[in-house]
Amino acid sequence: MSVKYVPVQWNRNKWIYDGVMLAGVGLFLWIFLSASPSILSHERAINPQVHNARAFGACAFLMLTVILCIGPLARLDERFLPLLYNRRHFGVMTVFVALTHASYILDWYFAFSMSDKYEALLFANTSFGQTAGFPFEVFGIFALIVLIILAATSHDFWMKFLTPPVWKRIHYLIYPAYIAVVAHVSLGILQDQQNQGFTVLFIAGAAAVGITHLLAALHERRKAAEIAGTPGQWVDICDASEMTEGFAKIKLLPNGERVAVFLMDGQLSAISNACAHQNGPLGEGRILDCLVTCPWHGFQYDVRTGRSPAPFTEMVPTYNLRLDGTRVRVDVNANAPGTPVDPVPLPAARATA
């Protein structure tokens, strides 16, 4: 939410978030490398390079698994929203861990190759026509390339420049990447496990990602059905008595957009539910000091104008409102982002404090 871009936007919460994350990575690597070799199939002698490669590979898988669980968990239960707050740093850190894994592999298995080690990686196993011994490396390469693309485009500039919908579509690549990682592990190290410990941990992690996404998808569909608006130019939102001071009602408009109608100081205002930053659900935020705060990353907007407070420049579309008796209705056609709209006062007796 900068006026001028800075390399990394730090604040106290992000320092804490990153500190906990780095401590977790350090702890995982220490346990993997030192504390419990028997649990992780290290009974057979392996050299330090392979041991390190496995540690960083397992760490990258775990980090990716946690990252992917955060999104659906936050959709299912808002208590997980703090984990979403700085997930970007989590993702960038994952790329460095995954690159370290790849470096150990390249510098050990292909160190004495007759050709360039990157070429050797590509042609070392080309048995694409068979399932047993399938070149699982290709899945890892694909996932690593995707992770690099996502990390390289994670700065706020990219979201503004590409627009949130385009940026989001690019970042949907994380799903094929995770599937590729599951294939990389399933056709790779899983074939060589001598005890069940790693297998169980791997399947539990992947299952957590699958199940949380399934539950969140069903939850979202149910919610979309609940907030679906009626056709017509003026869409019915709710009865005025249902509005709560400082909070919003969200409605899915017939054109597919979502509007958030807020009650502030006994007056109604309506803005787009999609934050200009990452299209977070503004209607799930609450109003503080005349500004609604996006629950995802804390961007703020004046609900009467759709504008972030100066000196910030973000804007969202606003909507015209009217009261038909006690029914709150919204014009389906949005105003241009940042267009001021006079709030519609509620009769004092109807507003709930």
């Binding site: 871009y5 399932t131 500039f157 690019i170 074939q191 001598q194 999609a274 241009a336």
Partner: protein, 125 residues
Amino acid sequence: MNQAEAILLGLRIWGSIGAIVAAVFLTIGMDRIDEDARGAYVFRPLLIPGVLVIWPLVLWRWHIYETGSEAPAKRYQPPRKAHFAVGMILPLAICVIILAGLNLRQTWPGQIAPMQLSQPAETSQ
């Protein structure tokens, strides 16, 4: 030239074009299209990897900003429907792949013959 060399050559060409785009965009283009970038220089090196990997998208978006052809409303239309597709496809794909991987295993831990690593207790005593 073998296929591996061709792939790496393609990546080098992609990166080289990206480097040229990055040089022009980060020094000239960015100031023309984003007021928040004017006077802000320290963060620009962080964007170089991004331009290297998605430079065609950078050129496309740059063109849209320069020509003013963007529809503002599109900025506020997140691709929500994809959530449901992901929620269905992701668990299914994970199940299929893991089951395939397990099915391919040639030896299971239970099939590995036990091996005595040390002398029996009564002998060692």
